[in-house]
Amino acid sequence: MSNADRVRVRGLSIFRPIIYGNTATVLTPKEREALSPQTKDHTHRWTVAVRSAASAPDSDIVGGADDLGYFIKRVSFKLHETYPNSTRNIDKPPFEVTETGWGEFEVQIRITFIPESGEKAMILYHHIKLHPWTLTGEPEIPPLEEALRKGPVHSWQYDEIVFNDPYQNFLNLLMAHPPTLLPKEKRYKPTPFHIANPVSLKEAVNVTSEMGVPEFTMAMEKDEAERLEEAKKKVIAEQEQWKKILIEKNEEYQQLQQMVEE
């Protein structure tokens, strides 16, 4: 490794869009029979994963168009202690763990980057979601038929890993793998559910397994941007009102003050 590669390119940051989360499907009675005696009470099969944000065309999973192995060395999933060898280290893509279970819990995801990055590992947390989303956000366990009709439950969070002033060789490596861009517009696939996204909340009620797997799109970003801008406008409008009130009250106060001084 020549030392010029170990020079940080300053004034530059480079990011990679990723998603992390899980997909869960309810087990049919037949499947449950096939389970081993230790896991007889398990009701769901779930997969927790770290993937690239864009979905491959016609894929049956959320995201995962790109192989993240070029900059991620290892992803460790720390499952609930009740699972045998609860820390699962995945050293090559796909970075995911599939298990069966009966309850929701928080999984710790530790992403280790390749040594060229010179970066420390990063820790994320994800709540494994098994039961369908509801409008209220309160967990509800629907009857089996209903769960089967609704299809797999998806819970994914988009995020961007930002590398500041990367080393030259690491930057070259990243630039050799440009990420697949998110589709500009929402296509036939549903919007991934997110508690902060009213669009997905509305859709969530009607989601069925026929609609396919959700997909992240740029439209979601635009949508959120508009929501934020809208909110900002409202806040500013309200600010104006309160400013007026403040001025009025101040005047009133000053008048009173004058009277006190008289």
Binding site: K120, P178, I195, R227, L246
Partner: protein, 497 residues
Amino acid sequence: MAASIADVRSALSISAPSPSTPGPSQLKKQPSQSIRKPEGISRELYSLIGPSAPTLAAQLAKPRLKQKPNLGGGGKVKWEWRTFKNSARTDSLELGHWVKANSDPNAEYTFAKYNVQHTVYSWTQDEYTRYLQDPEWTPEESQYLFKLAVEYDLRWYIIHDRYHYPTGVTRELEDLKDRYFSICRKLVRNRPWNGDETSKNQLLASFSFDKEREQLRKKYVANLENRNPEQVQEEEALYLEVKRLEQNERKFKREREELLRTLAGIDSGLPDIVEDEATFFTVDTSKLQKKKNRGTDLDSPSVSSAPSVTKRAPVVKDPVEDAKHCIIRTELSATTPATKAAHTPAYMRSFKLPYPKAAIAPRVTQVLSELGISPSRLVMPTRDNCQRLESLMDEATTLVELKKAVDKVIQDIEVTKARLDLRETEGEEPARHPETDLEMDERGTIEPEGEDGRAQSVVSTRSTRSRKHSRRSMSVSSVDTTATSSARPATKRQKRG
């Protein structure tokens, strides 16, 4: 003088004229020499250096001296006294002046053209009502202004000096100008124009007048003139100080750059790159390896210079490429230290979501959630959206702080009202005895005014009382929070009775 010339001659080894020869004979000798005198060299110089410097003479010959301009032919100019008429004058006054005898006696007076006549604008009653109305001005006064403007030929200071309109409103110079030019502008704009647009615009521009700006300008000039010596001195001192600071700053920057260049340059073997910090170790290498690395680097600088080509490649700024590779470039500030400690480690975008100030966090969160925004989570935490959330949060914080300020003022108002009420009841304490009150009323003397019964002697009690009434009516409208409120109606009744 002769001695010095002799010195020069001896120095240049020119045969000196015989010492016995007097001055005039020297001059007589010259013509014989001047035949050979090359052109372009002055007589005096030639007499000094003689023919012994031909190269110099040849060079001097090149730029020919300009001929003196021949003025007026023979040198003598005849002037004569003539009478003339100024065609710009309306009266046929004849004046006289000296002119050259050879000039044309029938020519127009040269200065007549400088008497430019201004277009006199006048208006019809209809035009006035439609365009020229101004609450500050009557049509008559406008007419008067225009009359003066024409009379004094737009000499504004004179116009202002002579301006005396019977309504008695004193007008500033700027008021007059503003009115005059605005009328002109409006008339030009609204009347049919038979020239082209540019000339119309030119004319309009010549009528433009900004009253506020002119006043401001005059104020500034007056301020500038009215500075006292100390202020002037202070200003100069400050100016010098600023200059000195600037200079220091520059010097400091230069030195710093040099230092960086020296350090980074030697280390990386690339003296032309200042921005990039050379680091020779990965995170997990030991100190020993580090030392070894550095040693080898210093030993073989040729290794380090090779990859400079690959290094340059990503520096090319191409927004399209950058977007494709998700690269964001920031301007480096000179103050950012290029050390390992200052490096920001890799992070998730959502790690850097803004937090509201702890003291008002619950209220900010509430404001945001009322708007359907969850302050701690974004669906798509991209850079733009994070920034948007941050600015939204800033605004929400401002809003919450505004509300707090309003609350405080309202509270202050309540407190003050309570104080007023309290004082009023105290102030009316003596009035509980109707006799004394009446007596005082009749006598028209001082009525104690509670805690600050001062300066009331001038004012009659009647007025004091009426003021009190008004005050009471105000406090009645306010929220009843004072303990003294129960006492008030009683006092009131007594007073009325």
